[in-house]
């Protein structure tokens, strides 16, 4: 070992994971695409010249402009405009921000819930484990869309009409999160069962370390690899679930459209010839979900020692 102090960047560059990342073109390409999408979505005010939700900047004269490369296209609206004259590209980026926020929040919610339940179930075992795991089995028999529709329906009943639009996004996060957690619970329980029988856990028990510290300081960091892998793939699922719900009209309201809402709105114009209004949000959603899945696949292969060559 040399005496040079390594910076964090040096350590990352030196790690095996980065090495395998560089060797995988799919991982590099998909993460570049994702970085661009994330940047453009979260800093959308800086990237786009138009604010599609500012009525004063809209002109109905621009409505139904086709994409710029077609015959009637205008250069300033690259992907055309929708029925209210909003620039499609800006609207998509604003929409993808909503989709990403919902997706990330839902997956973090279900990750925290699922990992906590799975970790404690695996660690304590016995009747508690049996109850938690049977509960996840029951949860898995309910299709996640149905679950989300159910939650949304109940929320509509409880929350007053005025508040509903405001609360819609939280209801959506809860609905998607509650239908995704069993995956996390199962994976983290299985990993905990392996880890808890290792000697380092026994050593901590003999020293007298409390169960809580053993679970969250010792076992949790050791089970995070598989959890992160299904978390990544789950992120794509959550974004798709959000779009599906919004497409069905139970997601975010049209005033703050997400990708799914945009696809639904555009769907009305599809047969009258304005195909671009629904086509581009849909393509954008496909690219987003596909890139996340490719990155997730690469992570699964790299972080799984059994598949190493």
């Amino acid at each position: 070992m040399d005496n040079k102090i390594l910076t964090i960047w040096d350590k990352i560059k030196d790690s095996d994971i980065f090495f395998s990342f560089k060797k995988s073109p799919t991982a590099v390409v998909s993460s570049i695409i994702l970085l661009i999408i994330f940047f453009c979505s979260f800093f959308v005010e800086l990237v786009t010249p138009y604010n599609p939700f500012d009525p004063s900047s809209l002109s109905l004269m621009d409505a139904f402009t086709p994409p710029s490369w077609t015959e009637d296209g205008i250069a300033k609206f690259i992907l055309g405009t929708d029925g209210q004259g909003r620039d499609m590209l800006s609207t998509i980026l604003y929409g993808s921000r909503i989709s990403l926020i919902v997706g990330f929040s839902a997956i973090i919610f279900s990750l925290v819930l699922g990992v906590t339940l799975g970790l404690t179930a695996g660690y304590f075992g016995g009747k508690y484990e049996m109850i938690v795991m049977r509960f996840t089995d029951v949860q898995l028999t309910v299709p996640s869309i149905l679950m989300a529709l159910l939650v949304d329906g109940i929320a509509r009943g409880i929350i007053s009409r005025e508040l509903h639009d405001e609360m819609a996004i939280y209801v959506l996060i809860f609905a998607i999160g509650i239908s995704e957690w069993p995956q996390f619970a199962r994976v983290s329980r299985a990993a905990t069962l392996v880890e808890k029988n290792k000697d380092y856990v026994a050593a901590s028990t003999i020293i007298g370390v409390s169960n809580l510290i053993i679970m969250f300081k010792h076992i949790l960091p050791n089970i995070m690899r598989p959890v992160l892998v299904i978390g990544t793939i789950g992120l794509a699922l959550a974004i798709i679930a959000e779009s599906t719900l919004s497409f069905l009209g139970v997601g975010v309201p049209p005033t703050t459209p997400s990708l799914g809402t945009l696809i639904r709105l555009g769907n009305d114009f599809l047969f009258s010839g304005e195909w671009w209004i629904t086509f581009f949000p849909a393509i954008f959603l496909v690219i987003l979900a596909f890139s996340i899945n490719l990155l997730g696949d690469w992570m699964r292969d790299t972080l799984n020692p059994k598949l190493k060559k």
């Binding site: 000697d199 026994a202 007298g208 050791n222």
Partner: protein, 561 residues
């Protein structure tokens, strides 16, 4: 006339950062009717040589030079040769009999398949041949056992089946890669006898790859010693073991625990300096509240029973396994007590009950006259937790890979002494590391940066952090190489002497137990056969099982006779 000639063989692995030579310029010859032992510690390249002969080297490794001659044929000249000779002229026995047989085929099917692949005979003849082979390797009632599946055989029997598979095409060369490492002592000697017998009867050339010097001494005619991919020494087994020329061979031989006498310390040979003195003044002694040794019992185990019930719904005793069956013994303060037994004898279960990881089914454990398995109160329990610590077998799973060494060691210190300030904590950690002969800057590194022996030292430092009175060592050296084992055993002896530790030492390795323990208990199937002073046990064993174990253990001393 040598049958197998390995000339200047080199095998290298091209890794991301460097090229690793797993074997470098190896020259070995084996005659027919002779057993050549290939001995070395882990990573010495002994298995690489064996795999190179049959072209089983995994990617990214490759044979980069040299030649292997089988008779007059160079098997690397033509790639077709290897396929032709593997299985046909060369037979193979692997370490683990659990995985080298296909569990969903009967052993008969597997034998017939192998025979018909290489020999052009019909199924009836193949079956006749297979049954004869099974008889030859000592499987009784082989006509009926022919249709059994591998799981219906015990470990030793399965290894016999593997040997019959290796023999079924009349090979002239047999490569046995650690054939008895996964087996108990009593079965090991049977398998080795079988290999010896077959070598004579069939006039085979045999390469026996092993790390066990006792096995080498008892079985082989000639021995090749390897280290870091290099051939250190090759020659007549007796000559090499009694008059080693190279320093490495000397240190290897002197690290092997002798079976016929007790020595005070292992001699560590380092570049011609014989080091016998250990770390004499430990810095942690200043902190240690040294207990006067009173001639009293520290631990008393009374009528201990433990059953494992694997039936979830009923608590019937029908399906339960009796792991510990009415075991009682006492350990005096300052004494080393050994528990010996083969796998499944319940020795680890007893250790886990004493450190309170398992609850006994019935019976009591007294520590310092207090019955510790009935304590319900948590703070009461903590008092005993700090006095009883444990060292585990596997140095790779006993340390949490996500924590730095200093965090691993500081955990018990902080837990039992929450008010300790950070400077004092740091000093304590470096004193502990010093007492296990690790450098101070090890504290800032992660466990994966250390070798197995060093990790075991970290484990010991962690156990010492609470200043325990009883140290339970569960096979602390069985995952380590023999020279590292000698160092760790020396360390444990020094620590015990200076800190007045009481040690419960658990092992399957009789010579090691003899070196470490004052008194020894022999376990078989959860029952205690006998307890005796260790010298007495080895010189005049009273129980039949003990006699059997002592008779069968491989002895390096046989070579001197």
């Amino acid at each position: 006339m040598s049958f197998l000639k390995i000339k200047n063989l080199s095998v290298n692995y091209t890794m991301r950062r460097e090229i690793i030579y797993a074997a470098k310029d190896i020259n070995i010859e084996v005659k027919k009717g002779e057993i050549l032992g290939l001995v070395g510690e882990s990573g010495s390249g002994k298995s690489t040589v064996g795999n190179a002969i049959i072209n089983l080297i995994d990617e990214p490794g490759k044979v980069s030079g040299g030649s292997i001659l089988l008779g007059d044929i160079d098997i690397y000249k033509n790639p077709k040769n290897i396929v032709k000779y593997r299985g046909n002229k060369i037979g193979l026995i692997f370490q683990d009999p659990q995985t080298s047989l296909n569990p969903i085929l009967t052993i008969g099917d597997q034998l017939i398949e192998t025979i018909q692949t290489h020999l052009n005979i019909n199924i009836i003849e193949a079956k006749k041949k297979a049954i004869n082979l099974l008889k030859e390797v000592g499987i009784k009632d082989s006509e009926n056992r022919f249709d059994n599946y591998p799981h219906q055989f015990s470990g030793g029997m399965r290894q016999r089946v593997v040997i019959s598979l290796a023999l079924c095409c009349e090979p002239e060369l047999l490569i046995a890669d650690e054939p008895t490492t996964a087996l108990d002592v009593s079965i090991q000697s049977q398998i080795l006898e079988l290999i010896k017998k077959l070598t004579k009867e069939r006039n085979l050339a045999v390469i026996l790859i092993t790390h066990d010097m006792g096995v080498i001494a008892e079985t082989t005619d000639r021995v090749a010693v390897m280290k870091n991919g290099n051939l250190v020494e090759i020659g007549n087994t007796k000559e090499i073991l009694t008059k080693p020329k190279e320093i490495y061979t000397k240190s290897l031989v002197s690290s092997v625990p002798p079976t016929n006498k007790k020595i005070s310390r292992f001699v560590i040979v380092e570049k011609d300096n014989q080091k016998t003195i250990g770390n004499q003044n430990l810095k942690i002694l200043n902190r240690w509240k040294k207990k006067e040794i009173l001639n009293q019992d520290l631990v008393e185990v009374k009528n201990l029973f433990k059953t494992f019930d694997d039936n979830f719904f009923t608590e019937s005793s029908k399906n339960s396994v009796m792991a510990v069956n009415d075991v009682s013994f006492k350990i005096k303060e300052g004494e080393s007590f050994g528990l010996v037994g083969e796998s499944g004898s319940g020795k680890s279960t007893i250790a886990k009950i004493i450190v309170n990881l398992y609850k006994p089914s019935s019976g009591d454990i007294y520590f310092d006259k207090v019955c510790i398995n009935k304590i319900k109160n948590n703070s009461e329990m903590m008092k005993f937790r700090r006095q009883i610590q444990m060292i585990f077998q596997d140095p790779y799973s006993s340390l949490n890979g996500r924590l730095k060494v200093k965090d691993i060691i500081s955990e018990p210190i902080k837990l039992h002494n929450p008010k300790i300030n950070s400077i004092d904590l740091e000093n304590y950690i470096s004193d502990l590391l010093d007492s296990v002969e690790l450098s101070k800057n090890s504290a800032n590194r992660y466990p994966h940066e250390f070798s197995g022996g060093q990790r075991q030292r970290i484990s010991i430092a962690r156990a010492l952090a609470t200043q325990p009175r009883l140290l339970v060592c569960d096979e602390p050296t069985s995952a380590l190489d023999v020279s590292i084992q000698a160092q760790i055993l020396n360390l444990l002896k020094d620590l015990q002497e200076q800190l007045n530790l009481t040690i419960l030492f658990i092992s399957h390795d009789l010579p090691v137990v003899r070196q470490m323990c004052d008194r020894i208990g022999v376990l078989k199937n959860g029952k205690l056969c006998e307890i005796s002073n260790s010298e007495n046990l080895f010189e005049n064993p009273s129980h039949d099982y003990t006699k059997e174990l002592l008779r069968l253990m491989p002895k390096i001393e046989t070579i001197y006779n």
